[in-house]
Symmetry: C2
Subunit: 127 residues, 2 copies
């Protein structure tokens, strides 16, 4: 386990917070440009792998609307330097349409793109 | 994307095949010593994260029995060097009790332990 500088952890927190502040709260899906690398992959439960940021935007637009997500709080459980990237294990508490909380756990492999830390591989499931 | 030497890909294939040949076919859960690092974590759908190889053995013993898995064919979709480790995206075709095939996709972060490539972080979900 190689620990990460505070500045990197802060940058990760900033990216993670965009998901709630921009996507969920303001349906600003263009903000995913700051969250995912252009050639990122996501592996959502109940669907095949999706490759590329444009396809990922379309997925989240549909998924956030259909689940009625009103809040998404992401928290890093562990983060480890892995070559040019970072391996993060995290959890997300989602508030959905009926006010219920859904807890999701995830693994994200991060890469830097134009100096910004972004999600490059993103897979999750529910508890 | 840093490509991996054929010898590493072959070692990964060998580890991946143990899952079917030892666990599923022979209920030899001790073989997980050769599959997971001693401090590995798994993030199974429908359950919280499980840490440590002993706990992981208990999980698979119960899960393989309860799902009635009779075959598990793992295939690497992509594998990339990431520091001391490897980030693998893969898919698994499981044959379960009633003869149906369940397709699972996964992300595994590999590490070497005593010279053997093993799964260190393992998360999956269904399509």
């Amino acid at each position: 386990m190689k620990s990460l500088p505070d500045s990197v952890l802060a940058a990760m927190r900033k990216t993670n917070e965009l998901f709630d502040s921009e996507l969920v709260k303001h349906q600003n899906f263009a903000a995913l440009d700051r969250v995912y690398t252009s050639d990122a992959s996501i592996l959502p439960p109940g669907a095949p792998m999706i490759e590329g940021r444009d396809q990922i935007k379309a997925f989240w637009k549909q998924a956030i609307a259909s689940m009625g997500v009103t809040s998404a709080k992401l928290a890093t459980v562990s983060a480890e330097a892995a070559g040019d990237g970072i391996l993060e294990i995290g959890k997300a508490d989602l508030t959905v349409g009926d006010g219920q909380t859904v807890t999701v756990k995830y693994v994200v492999y991060w890469k830097q793109e134009n100096g910004t830390w972004k999600w490059h591989v993103d897979i999750w499931n529910t508890n």
